[in-house]
Symmetry: C2
Subunit: 322 residues, 2 copies
């Protein structure tokens, strides 16, 4: 069993003890339905690794690991309402299965339980944990609004795209590592570096997500390839393509954006992506963020060997197929 698997089973055991079907069942069942789905458990594992890196027992950070997983899942439940998504992790979304009211209220409950978990950490750590979690989740909220705003905007710059994914995706990954570092009594400088490391990995992670949706293998990826293209989603690929396109290509892209023929649309847009080499640009930018994260990691005042698991986990995320 490697380090991540150890952390994963530590976390899953803690979760199964602490997320139970209380009364009223109408409120708690959607919570356990959501929390028991097979997710990557990426954020809680980052909390535990972040804590262990500074020599503390990762088990001491379990309430915070659960807190961040509850918070992340609350955003998924509420985002699925906003995106009118029917399927998440191969199962019906909460609002489809239990109705809108249950999705709103059980999502709220997950937020409240998330904060409540932090009260199980040592009082001396709590002010820093609460402050960081609140600031980070407000960023996520702003990121979700920016993402929704993008739907109605014809022109997005790469800078706007990167700002959106930093808030919507990267902020909570950086937060997870910093929360762990706080519990591990890291000094303020190292804790902040952990956050920046996580954010850089997070941005690379999101660009990878955009790539997989268009270039992944359907059988491995687990959902239909080209979904982002069909929905005109402002991914890195589309934003970059619109930025690089000449007048003819812009006209061509705009024609496809209006098309209802899904297969032709996916192929048409992918051909333009190929012509403009936006896939290569995405891969190059992923490397930039990977390099930045490496610089952050090198600056952290901890023995080189102890950083290996974190480095390994982070980079495994960037060669993933799902």
């Amino acid at each position: 069993m490697n380090d991540f698997q150890k952390h994963l089973s530590l976390f899953n055991e803690f979760l199964s003890k602490n997320v139970t079907n209380n009364q009223p069942i109408e409120l708690y069942e959607p919570v356990s339905y959501t929390m028991n789905q097979k997710g990557k458990r990426l954020r809680p594992i980052l909390v535990l690794i972040g804590c262990e890196l500074f020599g503390a027992d990762p088990a001491s950070a379990l309430p915070t690991a659960l807190s961040i997983e509850l918070m992340h899942n609350s955003t998924l439940v509420h985002d699925d309402i906003m995106d009118e998504a029917a399927i998440r992790r191969g199962q019906a979304t909460v609002h489809k299965k239990y109705g809108l009211n249950s999705a709103v209220l059980s999502g709220d409950l997950m937020i409240f339980k998330s904060y409540n978990e932090l009260t199980n950490q040592e009082p001396r750590h709590q002010p820093a944990l609460f402050s960081l979690l609140s600031d980070s989740i407000i960023e996520v909220c702003i990121g979700q609004q920016l993402d929704m705003n993008f739907e109605d905007k014809a022109k997005i710059t790469i800078a706007e795209y990167l700002d959106m994914i930093e808030k919507k995706t990267a902020a909570l990954l950086g937060c997870s590592l910093q929360l762990g570092a706080i519990i591990g009594d890291a000094d303020a400088n190292d804790a902040a570096l952990m956050n920046r490391f996580g954010r850089n990995i997070g941005k690379a992670f999101q660009i990878q997500d955009d790539l997989l949706d268009t270039y992944g293998e359907e059988a491995v990826f687990g959902k239909k390839i080209g979904g982002d293209i069909v929905q005109n989603k402002k991914t890195f690929l589309l934003v970059k393509a619109l930025e690089k396109a000449n007048a003819t290509q812009t006209k061509e892209i705009n024609k496809w954006l209006k098309s209802k023929d899904e297969t032709a649309k996916i192929n048409g847009i992918k051909t333009i992506f190929d012509d403009l080499k936006v896939r290569e640009e995405a891969e190059k930018l992923m490397e930039v963020y990977q390099d930045k994260s490496l610089i952050n990691l090198n600056l952290i005042d901890v023995e080189r060997d102890q950083k290996a698991p974190l480095k390994e986990l982070a980079y495994s995320l960037l060669v993933r197929q799902t």
Copy 2:
């Protein structure tokens, strides 16, 4: 200017400085729209009074006062989605004015900002504040679910009704007073008594709400009298009437519950309420909770004179017409 008006203007000034229209405006405007409506500001005033009672400067509790008002308003925004309510405080509800997505997301933001405000209190107070706020708002969440469950249940007992209103309404009133007491460095026993005082007042307050909806004066009350009856809401009056009714009266009530003729329904149900004297039962029970709250207040280890403003405020709530 009396004590409450002083507290109210202190709070309103703090609110106007701290709830501003940040970017993205789509996210922040529904928050300021909601927070700037004329509400009673009951919970923040309870925080300030709770703090002052123990000799501390009420201004030191302003972040917590704002926290509780943000939290309370987040529940209103999300409850209005669940209840499909179109009007709140004489204005369009957030989901009607800005759409469902904005109501979900800006309600979430109010929750996050609520917790964030607590990080502005002294670190030594924070663990107790976070713990109490989280526990209390989870109760509110459960109360909202129980209230929704009541809609589909034919038979509710008075005990179930009282449990629901304790969670949905009274918990946050008790919480407000206890939060203030914590910041005022009250001892644990006094702080707990403040909570119980607030809960007893809160239950009386909710029964009063039920009474006003049926027996209030429309011009003063500000909304249509009889709304609860039209919607078959399981108020104290209806629950008690169903408990006391004989077979003929039960049949009569059930006939009216199905009626679409609003005026006839309101009059028909009120006649049965009169026959069963449920209004008098409600008034009697309000007095019971008022007496209980008085016992709580007497036990608090503070000079009698200093308790006068709290007593006055609490009882003014129970003779209100709106």
